[in-house]
Each structure stands twice: as structure tokens, then as C-alpha cells.
């Protein structure tokens, strides 16, 4: 399935993704950005690229047409002859705490959900918390409390706590989605949380 098909299926299941558009050329991207509203991010969509940032395939916080045009050209240059399906124009996510919410089907226990702080922290500190599906809201609270970084979510250093209700709803939705579509593995990574809610920046899954 293509990225757009994946995203559409997620939306069909009630996941609220950041507004996006798969642009085929620069003019297309400009039109989409105008419609979505600046600032936006551009991301390469290519079957030959797994980690987009590693090849310079992502440009963020593009505030106007000029920045977008330059970014588009840079990304196409960095693609360096790889097959490009298009460039994803996406609304910039809110600022906040980046979480990774993963899921997989364990051979013995079936579907399970894994929560962790996004980015490099998952790798270095192994700071993750897991539960077997289906979950109830209190399970999600316990998962959060188990993370070493949980003070960050509770509003450390004068920041407001993240919206727990949004996190609960998202995790429970993911459990339902994995069961209904028989998902083998999935990642919402990152999902950015603040006190009002969350933005799903990227998502992938396999069956």
C-alpha cells in the first residue's frame, strides 16, 4: 500500500492526522501549502528511502513560498536519482512532548501496545512501557506512570501537563485498529502532545 492509502485507512478508523497532501511537483506543493496554511513541512516519499532525515529528505518550519521552493529543490537534489513517489506537504505539528506509540502482534500474547518518549530516548534509555490489548483507560495512566520520563508529561518546569485524555483515546483507538485490521506491526512516531491535544506526525503499519 502507498503512504496515502495507509494514511486514508488510518483516517477511516478515526485517527486525526495532520493535514497533508502528496505533491507531484513544485507547483503542486505550493498550491497545497497555500491550502493547508504555513508553516508546513516537506518530506520525501520514496520506496527506496527508509529514514527520510538521513538523506536530507525532510525540511521543516517552512514559513513562506520562497522557503518552500528552496526546500523542494534541496530535497529533490538530495534524492540523488532515487525513485520519488512525491513530496508530502504536511502542516507543522504543534510544539510539545514527542511520544512514540507502537504496536505489534506477539505470537503468544497477541496485540500489544508500547509507549515511549520519541526520538533517541527510546533507543538509549530503553524507557518504554507495554501492555497487552485490549486496554482500559487506567492501563494507559499506568503506562505513563511507569515511564522514567513521566514528569515531562506531567508538566515539568512550569510547563502544562500533556492532555492525558487525548493519549488514552489514541492508545485505545490503536488497540481497536490493530484488532480490526489484523495489524502485524505499527508505529505512530512521533506523536506530539501538549495540554490541548496531540498531532500524529508520522505513521506506518504492516499486515
Amino acid at each position: 500500500m502507498t503512504l496515502v492509502e495507509d494514511f486514508s485507512l488510518l483516517e477511516k478508523h478515526g485517527f486525526k492526522l495532520l493535514p497533508y497532501y502528496l505533491a507531484k511537483n513544485e507547483a503542486d506543493a505550493l498550491k497545497a501549502a497555500k491550502k493547508i496554511g504555513y508553516p508546513v513541512a516537506l518530506k520525501i516519499v520514496s520506496p527506496e528511502v527508509e529514514h527520510k532525515t538521513d538523506i536530507g529528505g525532510v525540511r521543516i518550519t517552512l514559513r513562506n513560498e520562497e522557503m518552500l521552493r528552496n526546500a523542494y529543490k534541496e530535497i529533490m537534489q538530495n534524492a540523488n536519482g532515487r525513485k520519488v513517489d512525491g513530496i508530502l506537504v504536511q502542516k507543522m505539528a504543534r510544539k510539545g512532548v514527542e511520544l512514540i506509540i507502537g504496536g505489534k502482534k506477539d505470537p503468544q500474547f497477541g496485540h500489544m501496545v508500547v509507549l515511549g518518549l520519541g526520538g533517541i530516548y527510546v533507543e538509549i534509555f530503553r524507557d518504554i512501557s507495554a501492555r497487552i490489548c485490549p486496554l482500559v483507560a487506567s492501563d494507559v495512566d499506568e503506562m505513563v506512570a511507569e515511564l522514567k520520563v513521566h514528569p515531562l508529561l506531567e508538566g515539568a518546569r512550569g510547563k502544562k501537563p500533556v492532555n492525558k485524555k487525548a493519549l488514552e483515546a489514541l492508545v485505545l483507538r490503536m488497540c481497536r485498529f490493530m484488532a480490526e485490521e489484523d495489524i502485524k506491526e505499527m508505529d505512530l512516531n512521533p506523536v506530539v502532545f501538549d495540554e490541548r491535544g496531540c498531532d500524529i506526525v508520522d505513521a506506518r503499519f504492516s499486515r
Binding site: G102, G103, K104, Q108, M112, R131, I132
Partner: protein
């Protein structure tokens, strides 16, 4: 399956036992088995089964189980794997209570065909089967004992309230030996090996109903049906606390270093999640199993506020550190407690938590301090450090502590750190059922598990 679980009663409380593969050759499994039954003076009938002998150890020996006149409750099988389906069919014809198959040579060596035959016969006849490829069962109350290790080499624990369900025979036997050594009382021992017919979840269900069992130790390597285990743990742990030990964490641990979820979620992560979801206390190693077992016989605390008593300041500080890092709290004494404690202390002592009775403290000071803290509503549990090396501490402390236990109001964990002399003290305390620890960390960690489990039980009560 329900009927099979219920029928397990005839395996654990048999009036008659048949031993298939009974042998006259010393050190053979079939020899040790019969000997053990005779040595422990098993009160029921013992029937050796082996077509080779007319009699064995002065008992009539039968060619097959169906030749035995009268009812047979429990059959223990120790013959080669190929012969076992035949024995099972004979047992089904005889309508025996249950079968314990010690023999290996089934799934673990890819003989799924043999395992499937056992399953078919068991399911058709509703005969519960323990094993194969295991040490089987031991019930110190009825003396049924299929652990084929000589009694002088592997001591059997006294009768008590701890049940132990284990996949591995090796871990199983060593834990049983340690239980005897530490004086921990056992209710049922179940080594289920391949778990071909009844698995760990079925045994948990059985033990939930077992009157003698109050706490369950569960040793796992891997399970076939994780969802069934999670459901069983959730159901049983509400009634009786389960302490779980999981082996084979390695692959999951390595995979956790990878950021992609498919790799993070190595299979140990799923077990760990299941234990957490069922609120099962997961122990990190055999020593921790015993640390937890000791404390779970204590009354359930109403909160996490600990009163600490010590006769050595430094050990109190170390304990306070762990109380903080493990998520417990140091209690704030009530005014009345403060007043009463001040009277116990020498003039140069100060009332604080941890309460330092100082090295001059004798057994009387401990008795009074424990009494005061036991009635303070601001204190949920006690951690009592006894440095036995100080001159005024003598064996009367054992009497004081056992008296506290008899009152059964708040949980108490004791800590005594030291060498040979101290360890003798600890062993006596443990044999009296007083939770005794050789390090502050072990004591506090165990208390924390009891606090977590108690909180869970309170929440269940409210729902």
C-alpha cells in the same frame, strides 16, 4: 477442561498410587519413586507396576494398571515415551483419577505425534495429565510425591501455604530444596514440563480453589497461549497473590536497544506487560522469589508509610534511602507516638523516623517501640533492623518478634546484616515465619511489592 482441573484432586489427595515403571534396580527413577513412598510412610495403597516382577519391596507388583484390583487415584509413569500412550489407554480403561507422566521424549524432541496421542486419550476420558517431561507433583499434606530425587539429597519442605508451579524440573527441585532449607511451608508442588494437556493457566485455576494454598509461585520459560495465561493470572491473583519468575529474557533485552517497535517488543516485554496488567509480583531471580514469598504471609498494609526501628544509625539511613527510591514513604509519627517513643529512648536519643534506639538498646526497647508503632494510625508497616552484633541483643528478640506476628495487625519486615552468628538468628526467625532479610534493599523491595498488591486488593474491594 473444568472437569479435568477438578479431577486433579485425585492426583494430589490420592488414597491409592500406582507407579508404572517401578524398578528393583537402585538409582533408577522407578526405584527411587517407590522407595520415597515407602520411606515417607504414605498412608494410602502403593501399587508397583512392571510386568518383570511378581513383587517389589515386599509389595505385589502388577503387569499393568488395569490388573490392580479396586480404585486407583493417581498413576505415576516413568517408562519410555513410546510406551506411554499404551499406559494412558490402560489408565483410561481403568478410569483412574489422574496421571503424572515423568518420562521425557515428547514435544521437546519433536515427537508431537506421541504428545497428540496423549492429548486425545486424556480429552476423551477427562483424565487430568501432569507433564510429560517433568518432576510431577508433591503434596506434603498427603505425602504424594513423584519427585524422583532421593530424600537425603533433596529435602522436602514442611506442609504450609505456598504453592509452586514450575515449567522446569531443575529450577523446581532446587526451589523445593531451598524451601525446606529456609523453613518455608509448601502446599502443592507442580512441575508440569511440556504442559501437553494441562498448562500453567489450568494449574493456577486449580490452586485458586485449593484450600491449603495462600500464595502461588509461578516459574515460566515460555507459554503457548499467552492470552489464556493473562486471563488466568488476572482471575487468580485477585484471590491469591502470584509471584512470577520468568526465564529467557535475553532476546527481548537485546531487541529493546532497537528503536523500531517490532524489535523493542521482544517477547519478554509481552510477559512483563502481562505481569503488570495482572498485578502479579515479578521477581528478578530465585533469591527475590523467596524475599517476596516471606512478606506475602503478612497482613496487608493500608498504605505505603513505613515506621523504621534500628539499633544502628547508618543501617537506618540505608533503609530510608531504599524506602524513598522504591516508592515507599517514611511515616510521620503521631504526637502520641512521639511522646511514648521519647520515654523509651535514652536521654541523648532523638525521636525521628528511622527511630534509632542506639546500640545500648535491649530487647525491651524493641518490644516497646514496636508496640507503640503498631498502634499509630499514621504507620502502615514496620521495618525493624536488628544488628545482632550489639551486646544487649539476645535470643529473647525472637520471642518478641513472633509475638508481634501473632497479633497480625501490620506487616513487619526485619533486617539483620552480618556473618555466621547473624545468619543463625535469621534462620531461626525465618523458621518462625518472621520475614527476615540480610539487606535493607531486599526488605524494602519486598515490602513495596506487598504494598502494591494490597493497594490493588483495596481497589478491587471498592469496585
Amino acid at each position: 477442561m473444568k472437569r479435568m482441573i477438578k479431577n486433579l484432586g485425585r492426583v494430589f489427595e490420592p488414597k491409592s498410587v500406582a507407579i508404572v515403571g517401578a524398578s528393583a534396580t537402585p538409582n533408577k527413577i522407578g526405584n527411587v519413586l517407590v522407595r520415597n513412598f515407602l520411606d515417607t510412610k504414605f498412608p494410602g495403597a502403593v501399587y508397583p507396576v512392571n510386568p518383570k516382577y511378581p513383587e517389589l519391596f515386599g509389595l505385589k507388583c502388577y503387569a499393568k494398571v488395569s490388573d490392580i484390583p479396586g480404585k486407583v487415584d493417581c498413576v505415576i509413569v516413568a517408562t519410555p515415551a513410546e510406551t506411554v500412550p499404551g499406559v494412558m489407554r490402560d489408565c483410561a480403561d481403568k478410569k483412574v483419577g489422574g496421571v503424572v507422566i515423568l518420562s521425557g521424549g515428547f514435544e521437546e524432541v519433536n515427537r508431537n505425534d506421541l504428545a497428540q496421542k496423549l492429548r486425545e486419550i486424556a480429552e476423551a476420558s477427562n483424565i487430568p495429565v501432569v507433564g510429560p517431561n517433568c518432576l510431577g507433583v508433591f503434596n506434603p499434606y498427603t505425602k504424594v510425591d513423584s519427585i524422583f530425587l532421593p530424600m537425603y539429597k533433596l529435602e522436602r519442605p514442611k506442609a504450609g501455604s505456598i504453592a509452586f508451579v514450575t515449567q522446569s524440573g531443575a529450577v523446581g527441585s532446587t526451589v523445593v530444596d531451598l524451601m525446606a532449607y529456609y523453613g518455608v511451608g509448601l502446599s502443592k508442588f507442580i512441575s508440569y514440563g511440556n504442559g501437553t494437556i494441562l498448562d500453567e493457566s489450568d494449574y493456577l485455576e486449580y490452586l485458586m480453589q485449593d484450600e491449603k494454598t495462600k500464595t502461588i509461585i509461578l516459574y515460566l520459560e515460555g507459554v503457548k497461549d499467552g492470552r489464556k495465561l493473562l486471563a488466568a493470572m488476572k482471575k487468580v491473583n485477585k484471590v491469591k497473590p502470584i509471584i512470577a519468575l520468568k526465564a529467557g529474557k535475553g532476546a527481548g533485552g537485546q531487541a529493546a536497544a532497537r528503536s523500531h517497535t517490532g524489535n523493542i517488543a521482544g517477547s519478554y516485554l509481552a510477559y512483563n506487560a502481562a505481569f503488570k496488567q495482572a498485578k502479579v509480583a515479578e521477581a528478578d531471580g530465585i533469591d527475590e522469589v523467596f524475599d517476596f514469598v516471606k512478606i506475602f504471609n503478612q497482613p496487608k498494609p493500608k498504605g505505603n508509610r513505613m515506621g523504621v526501628i534500628t539499633n544502628g544509625g547508618g543501617m537506618g539511613v540505608l533503609t530510608a534511602d531504599y524506602i524513598e527510591s522504591e516508592g515507599l514513604a517514611l511515616a510521620q509519627f503521631s504526637e502520641e507516638t512521639k511522646k511514648e517513643l521519647a520515654e523509651i529512648l535514652p536521654a541523648y536519643g532523638t525521636v525521628a523516623n528511622p527511630l534509632d534506639l542506639v546500640a545500648d538498646a535491649g530487647v525491651e526497647a524493641y518490644e516497646k517501640a514496636i508496640g507503640v508503632m503498631m498502634k499509630d494510625p499514621n504507620i502502615d508497616g514496620l521495618i525493624v533492623i536488628i544488628l545482632t552484633q550489639t551486646p544487649p541483643i539476645d535470643e529473647r528478640i525472637i520471642h518478641v518478634l513472633t509475638k508481634v506476628l501473632d497479633a497480625q495487625t501490620k506487616p513487619i519486615a526485619t533486617i539483620s546484616v552480618g556473618g555466621t552468628y547473624t545468619e543463625v538468628y535469621r534462620k531461626i526467625l525465618e523458621s518462625k515465619g518472621v520475614p527476615s532479610y540480610s539487606s535493607p534493599r531486599a526488605a524494602v523491595k519486598a515490602m513495596e511489592r506487598l504494598v502494591v498488591y494490597s493497594k490493588y486488593c483495596r481497589q478491587l474491594g471498592k469496585k
